[in-house]
């Protein structure tokens, strides 16, 4: 018996599973570094987060009698990213609850992989921030080879026990702004000698992972460049206008801009499919992030900026349709 099927009769070797596991690989440099600076607590929290994400997905798929897809790698990514978005000081149950929320409410109820509107890890983080604000925003730990603020302890009395973005939000005196704009600070942010969420610390290692994905075409650099670039340009404009005391490079390297711009905004499921749409998505996201940081109530605006842009994806796809060949 000959097999008959419609053309084409060959397919590329890229599969959903392959893309997802490559994203996991791309997150590894930042993860290994997190273990280095935050110790085994980082492993524990990340593992719990992954187990919770996979377990939740399994339970949901089992209960609803759907195909079990937990090995496609997407739940693992959500688990890692959620853990990357919480403090290394968090209680063990925090990532468990966050990932369960991400999988049940954000991903599976909307139809599972491919159908969720919001990035599950980011929405999970938003849920945790709303539910346990003190655990999410005031429970930091300094990294092994640096300080929480990224500044030398003797530099500024007492304030070394806050993250750079908190310093900026709470008490942006001139001397603090000066320290935040120092080369010392920027270097600390780039390499990762500053306190913060588990996975957002080292801009360099996140970039290495992301460049791998760009090269493999498993993430679109246009979204990342749009997002991070617009954070840089827009914060630069506000700095020039005197609306923010810190330089654009600080805005670009601090907090979750790198993690969000490189790994969360580029989530395929929750970003536009057209090239124009992706540029708008990234650029608008970056602007919203800076708006929140400068005028909003939170010190950090990355997760909300991306979640807000997630909502606009269907609209962006619609308004940025390509010109059909010959039409």
């Amino acid at each position: 018996m000959l097999r008959i099927s419609p053309a084409p009769h060959i397919t590329s070797k890229v599969s959903t599973t392959k893309i997802m596991w490559n994203v996991v690989i791309a997150l590894m440099p930042a993860f290994i570094y997190a273990i280095h600076i935050f110790g085994e607590r980082a492993i524990l929290l990340t593992m719990l987060s992954i187990i919770s994400a996979m377990g939740s997905e399994y339970i949901f798929q089992k209960l609803t009698k759907r195909e079990i897809r937990i090995s496609d790698g997407s739940a693992v990514i959500t688990g890692i990213l959620l853990a990357f978005n919480i403090s290394p000081n968090s209680p063990w149950w925090l990532p468990v609850v966050g990932s369960a929320f991400a999988m049940f409410v954000v991903k599976q109820i909307f139809g599972g992989i491919g159908y969720n509107i919001f990035n599950p890890a980011l929405a999970g983080r938003a849920f945790l921030t709303a539910s346990w604000p003190s655990l999410m925003a005031g429970n930091w730990a300094p990294p092994a080879s640096g300080t929480l603020s990224g500044l030398p302890t003797q530099a500024l009395d007492g304030i070394a026990q806050a993250t750079p973005l908190t310093l900026l939000k709470v008490n942006p005196t001139e001397s603090i702004a000066q320290s935040l704009n120092s080369t010392y600070m920027l270097k600390a942010l780039f390499i990762g000698k500053v306190g913060g969420c588990i996975g957002e610390t080292s801009a360099l290692l996140l970039l290495i992972g992301a460049v791998y994905l760009f090269f493999k075409k498993y993430a679109d650099w246009k979204i990342s460049l749009g997002y991070i670039g617009s954070v840089f340009v827009f914060s630069g404009i506000l700095y020039y206008l005197g609306k923010t005391p810190v330089i654009p490079l600080f805005h670009m390297l601090s907090g979750g801009v790198m993690l969000g711009g490189l790994f969360m905004a580029t989530d395929m499921v929750t970003s536009p499919v057209t090239v124009k749409g992706r540029w708008i998505f990234g650029i608008a996201g970056g602007i919203i992030c800076v708006l929140i940081r400068v005028w909003g109530g939170y010190p950090e605006g990355v997760s909300y900026s991306i979640l807000i842009m997630n909502m606009f994806v269907p609209l962006l796809d619609r308004i940025s349709e390509k010109k059909i060949f010959g039409r």
Binding site: P8, H9, V14, S15, G114
Partner: protein, 437 residues
Amino acid sequence: MSLLTFKGGIHPACCKEFSKDSKIKRIEPPDFVYLYLSQHTGIPSKPALEKGEEVEIGQKIAKASGKLSVGLHSPVNGTYMGTVMHPHPLGGMKEAIRIQVNKENSTPFKEKKRAKISSIPKQKLVNIIKDSGIVGMGGAAFPTYFKLQVPSSKKIKDLIINGVECEPFLTSDYRLMMEKPEEVMKGVDVVRRIINPENVWIAIEANKLDAFEIMKGTSSLFPWANFVVLRTKYPQGSEKQLVDAITGRKVPEGGLPFDVNAYVQNTGTAFAIYEAVYLEKPLFERVVTVTGNVRHQSNFLVPIGTSFEYLIKLTEGPIGKISKIINGGPLMGIAQSQISSCVVKGTSGIVVQNETESIKKEPSPCIRCAACVDCCPMNLLPTELYKHIEMNRLEKAKEMGVLSCMECGSCSYACPANIPLTQQFKIAKSRITKKGK
């Protein structure tokens, strides 16, 4: 050097190395040949003989019937056995002329050198091409004489000879260019004289630079020809993409190349035109690449009507079990239900796949990776189109350009979730056009 190309497309493994060095070899005819009355776009031809009549190689055995039709010529010396229903490579059972090959009489076709070709008027050339049964040899099988009669309102500026052969595996056009460059160019010259273009472009993909050099080697004889290399990318050989790459003009939606003053002709067709005009030889044999999972991948000169089974045997057989046989390339070719299907004028190759190569991958949900959007050469949004068609919104699909889909297969190829995009569009297109009638 930045090579000419179009936007979008895919880069499948070219797999041409299997057969590219196999020289074109004329094969012994099989015991029977089957010539389908319908092997071109248009009205099927009508048998012109009585059962039991002896036929000679090259003799007309079926006449053109109607406005858009061409005849058939016997590829062998033998006996006309009437018509039977036979599995057609494009699907279904179709009426075919059956000829029993006379094994005693292997007299080859007598080529006659036609005299004073340069003084034959245009219309006469078109008639010769029509009488010789020539159709597009790249797969579409559109009667060439009809295409050559460009409406007088459409002045052709650019004649493009398509030597791109972008489908993986196939090497029949490549071998023709390697072995018969001058003959191909003489065929091009005939086309040039009929349609009188301003420019003539010989377009070859960058993975066939040796063929490019050989073709270019004829330029002293054909000073009017421009030889251009195009980037290796699928579907570079698609008419609209080729016209765009070379002239920068985009064929309008639903239009034809002549709407932008361009005319595209395949290399194999040019060669057939050469044979018809210069040697008075009608189209009854063609080069077929038999490749894929067979022992000796080859380029054969095959009598039209030879069964796939016979050709596969000539390669000393498949390696292991045959699981799929494709008429044409792996991206747009058609899977055969019967190994007894026979070569038609449009069969440029036969690709054999084994069990693992032909395995059907189960589709999973779309992850919106946009691989299909990025590669669609017609600039459609395959993933969005798919969803609309799935929900039966055909009007919306039409508005989003589904009728522009040329079923090149790029989106299905690229999709990491194995969603049968191309198949869905094919069905939607036929549903939309049927509704319109």
